[in-house]
Amino acid sequence: MGEVRLRVLYFAAAREAAGVESEEVSLEEEGTDDRGTPYATTEALEELLLGRYPKLKDIFRTVVLAVNMDYVDKGARVKLAPGDEVALIPPIGGG
């Protein structure tokens, strides 16, 4: 089976819960798209991160993902390709 390597960024409360700012993460390929590129999913990524960083659980309900700087609807299952950048975005407080 192939591997999907991703870059994961942690902000604010997510960084404090995970204790890390950014890291490379590798997920198992769940299939390949029509151009043969392997993909994984945000669902698998969430499972991995929650397992790896238990403290994330407390705040995960309020964390939204952004894939390549586009928000992903909470709970939506989105495909992830090698090299994608996924950010964990806690509640925002700008302005």
Binding site: A13, T62, A66, M69, I89, P90, P91, G93, G94, G95
Partner: protein, 150 residues
Amino acid sequence: MSSQVSGDSTESVHVEVVAEGRLSLDRAVDWVECPRSGAIATFSGVVRDNSDGRQVDHLDYEAYVPMAVKVMRSIGERIVKERGVSKIFMAHRVGRLQVKEPAVVIAVSAPHRAEAIGASRLAIDELKLQVPIFKKEVFVDGSHWKSNRP
């Protein structure tokens, strides 16, 4: 732009995330000024000395900078396209801010006041809803991340 500023600028939209120094309202107004626009509205979000009754010592802002710039720019472009606005300038500070320092400065120019003022309101509302910037309120006795959503 200096190393302290990440941003993006088109003919009618200028956005920036600034790591250091005081945001300048004058600079924002100068940028949006144009001869055919008789109305200039601005909004500044300034650090207050209290939040929900607790005394604030300072604020720490953090941003997913490239995405913040991207989202601010798309907000600006939509406002120029849909709201009869001539130019819009949006700047947000990150890093440590003291009381009375501006965290965000928005300026909008338009031919008439209704469009300019309406657009400044829309811009700050959209920014607070969409832009990945995070605010940590540091009190004299503790701190917490403060969300825009109640």
